[in-house]
Amino acid sequence: MSPWLDFVLFSILAATAVGVVILRNLFAVVMLGAVFSLVTAALFVVMDAPDVAFTEAAVGAGITTVLLLGALTLTTRHERPGSSGIAIPLAVSLITGAVLVYGSLDLPRFGSPDAPIHLHLAPEFLVGREPEIDIPNIVTAILASYRGFDTLGEVIVVFTAGIGVLLLIGRHHVGRRNRVEDAADDKGEAPDSPAQSPPEST
């Protein structure tokens, strides 16, 4: 695969990230987040990582959008401009970026067979998978069997996150208030028409 597709997709990704920083309308930012996840998943597919792309596709565009919208109920529609100056954040970003670029110089080339990860564990997994586990998808074999303990930890993290959200904003008497409202809705409600509804745009 020639690298031009990578370049174009990364450019779109960078443009999206800049848009997230510039735009003040939080709805637009949520939508840009969905676009960011779409482009990321396309990049993962281009880089031969279908399992990660699958996760990004399942979580990024749908669930994250819904959850971010849920978080928007707790705040306003527009981001307030920050009060502090631009100098300190810019310096922090530049220094962090420079350190990251410097660190990436030591990384092995993308897909290089001499990378440390391909010298120690990966051959063992790839050779041992056939007689020991015998399923075609190596990712599932590693995740569920060789690294089963880590995956148990991930499941518990998800479980803990769910409990935390429930404790913070969960409800106890589910739906009682809504039921009363719905009865009122059913009785005296005309179909939506543009004449009745106030324009919501400001």
Partner: protein
Amino acid sequence: MIGTAADIASWLFIVSGSAGIVISALGLLRLPDFYTRLHAGGVTDTFGAELLIIGLAIQSGVSLITAKLLIIGLFLFFTGPTATHATANAAWVAGLKPRLAERPDERPDGDNP
């Protein structure tokens, strides 16, 4: 012989689908107001996507891939127009008025930040 015919047919479908997709994106960018852009983003977009998927399906012969492609086409065929309908309905109910010919200088008042 049949292979050549299938190749030509799939070429035609893919190229015309790509043309439809580019035209729809151009329309999305260039048309003057929201309700006209809906046509570019809804009708032309679904049209181009379906043509492209038919072209890919012809290219892949008869296999599981063809079945998956046809299912994707079916989903896009249903969800695309439904999403466009929901968008148009929400915009209309919220009071976004179409730009009419009598007053060509009126701009739709959106929530421009």
